[in-house]
Every structure is written in C-alpha cells, then in structure tokens.
Symmetry: C2
Subunit: 245 residues, 2 copies
DNA sequence: CCAAAAGTGTTAAGTCTACACCCATGA
DNA sequence: TCATGGGTGTAGACTTAACACTTTTGG
C-alpha cells in the first residue's frame, strides 16, 4: 500500500545556517521558476522555502525530516516546530496562483512551519538537485507564497529562544571558540556584545568545556576550543525558577 | 455558499483557569459519554478538551475563537498556538475508535493545539450546554484521545513561558494583589517563593502599578491592589538582550 | 618584527538570597 | 482585643556593565 499525499497539509522548513566566515545568519532557499510557452519573461521567478506535503502514514516530524534529508542530506538536525500558517488566502497572490495551476495543487493548504539550525558549512549546497542558495536573513530576495512572513516569524522566535535556551550551539561546529559563540549571538540578535564580559560569563558556565585543543591553520594566535555539554546543562537546569519578566 | 468543514484539520483548546480561592491551576474539560443500546455500562465515559474542525473559509485562529466563544462566552482571551498533534495513530485506542464510529469521523485528523489563560471566575460554567468542568492540572480525570499528552505539553510550555513573558496577568483579574500574583506563580511552577523577595522584586517593576484602591470585603487588613500595564511593559522591553542560558 | 586577533582585570552599581517580626484591619 | 494575613529591612554573595591594554602566534 503506497503512502498517499495529504493534499491540504504541508510542512515548510526555514533552514537557518550560521556562516562563521561572513558572520552572517542565513536562510536556505530554493528557486521557483516558471516560463510559460507564449512569453519571453518568466511568469514566476522568485525564491521559496522547501516544503513537502505530509503523507498519510507519517508524522509531521517525519515530513520535516524528509524535507531536511533531501535538502541537506542530514538527519538529526535541531528543529523546532514553531507555528502553523493556515490563512485561507495565504497562497492568493498572482504568481502563487499561476504556480498552483501549473503544479496542480489548488485547494487550501495549511502548512506547519519548522525552523532548523545548523552551521552553513556542514552541508554542500552545490551538489543538491534543487540548487538551494543561502541568503542573509536581513537581505532576503523576492519570496513566493507567504514565505517572507514565515521566515520573519521563525526569526523572531529564534531571537527570543536564543536568550534563554542553549540553541546557539546548534549553529556552530562541535568545537568552537568563544569568539564564534559571540559572533553567533551578535548575528542573531543584531547587537554588539562586550567581549570581556561575554567571555567571562560564558567561560564560567560548567557546560561550556575547554578542550585540550587549539585552532589550527590560522595565521595569528590560535584560540582555545570549547564544546557544549548538553548533559551537564540538563543536570544544572533541571529546575531553576528565576522569574525574569 | 455555506462554509464547509475541513475534515482532517481541527483545533483543540487547553483552557487554563487560575482559581484564586483554591490557588489551583485548572483545566476546563467536557465529558465524553456514550452508551450503546446493547450495554449496561457506558462504552465511553471520560473527559476531553473541546475542539472544532476548521471551516474552509476561516483562519486557524478563528476556529480557536469559535471554540472559546462557545465554551466561555468570551472573545479576546489570551491564546497561544503551541503545537500540532498529527501522529497518524493519535486517535487509535479502543474508546476513541468507538467514539469516532459513532460521531462519523474516521480519517486521520491533525489538530492544532492552543492554550488559553483566564481567571476561573470570569466564566460561568454551570450555564453552558456542554457542562464543562474544571480539573486541577495535577489531578486530571481519565482523558480521551491524546488529550492528556496535549494538556501536559501545554502545561510544560506555560511553565516555561511564564518565567520570561508577562502572561501570569492573564490568569488574574485586572486588579490583583501581589499575593495573588505570587499564588499564581506558585501554582503554575509548583514551587514556594519567598514572599519578601517576591514583593520587592515585583513592586519595583514600572509596569506593575499600584492603584488607589484596596481590597474590600475581607475580614483582615485589606491589601493593596495593582494593575499590569502592557504599554509600559512593551516600552521597557523593546530591546533587552540579556543572555541567560 | 609585525599584523592580527586572543585574552585579560577592576570598580561601581545593581540584584539575589536568606531570614523573622511588626502592623493594620474587621469582626 | 484578637485573629488573620499584609507588609517590611538588612547583610552578604553574586552578577552586571563599562571600560583599554597586553600577549601570543604565524608568517
């Protein structure tokens, strides 16, 4: 029995990648391109998030995993289901309608949106059949459907969560420097952070563990590498009820 | 053109009410009862959350509003869409199957879950046709479908959010005492809070405003009433980036 | 020896924790 | 005048913010 597509339920993934070199928080997008035969200029030519319709025998998380596997080749990425976009008119601008006719989907679809965190360099986008491209979250191209809204809401959620959950680490390699951490926070929050205070604060944390290793291949003083211990973190933060409204 | 039900998409609402008298965080549930003609004992007799299927011309939020209007008579309650429950086998235990046959819904349904915050005493449950009942969140009755799971996840989300967002106030009347606030936090978090430190901390906040009013009708020293100013809160917290992981 | 980024210290202000008694009121 | 819960103060530990220079390294 082959699994059937559920036509009105989809999953869209906002893949955030932190680029350590440019210190930029990026979003992975694929092109949406359509040229009708009677026209010179393309009828649709913009970017969208990758998404799939859910199959009738899979969970929502599994749908998200399929999207991720296809686009990144990876399993087990950090992913957060953050909101449903279900406005009846969400796919109703001109290009979306042209596209929907061409792709033969028509009825109202609600989409369950996830965001995903990873360091950009763990995936090789060149070899992917969908030709995905990274765009800085603050310089997005023209976007199809309601995907600009989805990305903006994902980003807002990320900005909030990053302040009180240890999710920055998902944007970095397993071994990172304190500067990397700071760069990631600065890129996400769009603020400058005092380097001395930041180091002091973070190095004191028990779950940020100095390794017996330094950076290699840099033409300057190589910096100390650290790792994040989820286990230690969870032990410490089992119950800490600091009300900080 | 009459709006049609979307058969595979529903909205379920976890209505949390804080009862100031018993100092208990409660959940509003309705009974699910079914007696088949050939049997003495009811085939189904448990409690569930109230939910509706989404109509094809309404947003998800509007579906949630319909649920709330019906169950509480109120609009404009604080509501948070927190998670989608879409496991293909989520309605597959014995009673759920009997119930589904009886109610003529069968196919896989995904439900978009909200939680709602209000003070229990703003609604009169006795007059409602569905005979809803409050249950302390820590003493839930037997629950149908996957609603125990939904409630538990709603509660977990609430516990987390209450620490860094000003949502406790949604559980209290517009005018409240500092003790009320403390009781609400204690009920939600299941901890005891030092009264002196709590008062000091909260009274200092600019957005917690002392009124020219005291409690009336209490047979002891009447306490000072306060209100929460959302405006002041938002002005203060426009951008405060304290990383507290 | 130079360029580049890593790494470091101090002070003052503010916040958190722990702890126990007096006070104002209505009955 | 009493019972009840409202309301208060302090000291020590800790955390934060603001601020600029020295050190280490590879090339």
């Amino acid at each position: 029995m082959k699994a059937e597509i559920i036509p009105n339920i989809s999953v869209d993934c906002v893949i955030f990648g932190f680029d350590n070199t440019t210190k930029s928080l990026n979003v992975l997008l694929i092109e949406r391109y359509l040229k009708l035969k009677d026209s010179e200029i393309p009828a649709v030519n913009d970017y969208v998030l990758r998404g799939f319709h859910t199959l009738d025998n899979e969970t929502i998380d599994e749908t998200a995993n399929r999207v991720l596997k296809e686009l990144t080749g990876l399993d087990h990425l950090y992913k957060k289901q953050f909101k449903v976009f279900g406005d009846p008119n969400r796919l109703m601008n001109e290009k979306d309608i042209i596209w929907a006719q061409h792709e033969h989907f028509n009825q109202r679809t609600i989409t369950i949106a996830y965001y995903i965190l990873l360091p950009t360099d763990v995936i090789q986008i060149e070899v992917n059949q969908y030709k995905p491209k990274w765009f800085p979250v603050n310089q997005l191209p023209e976007l199809g459907f309601d995907h600009r809204k989805i990305i903006n809401e994902a980003y807002a959620d990320l900005k909030e969560k990053v302040l009180y959950k240890p999710i920055v680490f998902e944007l970095l390699a397993d071994k990172f420097t304190i500067k990397d951490l700071q760069d990631a926070y600065e890129a996400i929050l769009g603020v400058e952070i005092d380097n001395r205070n930041f180091r002091r604060k973070l190095i004191t944390k028990k779950y940020i563990i100095a390794l017996d290793e330094k950076q290699v291949g840099v033409s300057k003083k190589p910096s100390q590498l650290y790792m994040f211990s989820k286990d230690v973190y969870q032990k410490i933060y089992k119950e800490s009820y600091l009300i900080s409204i």
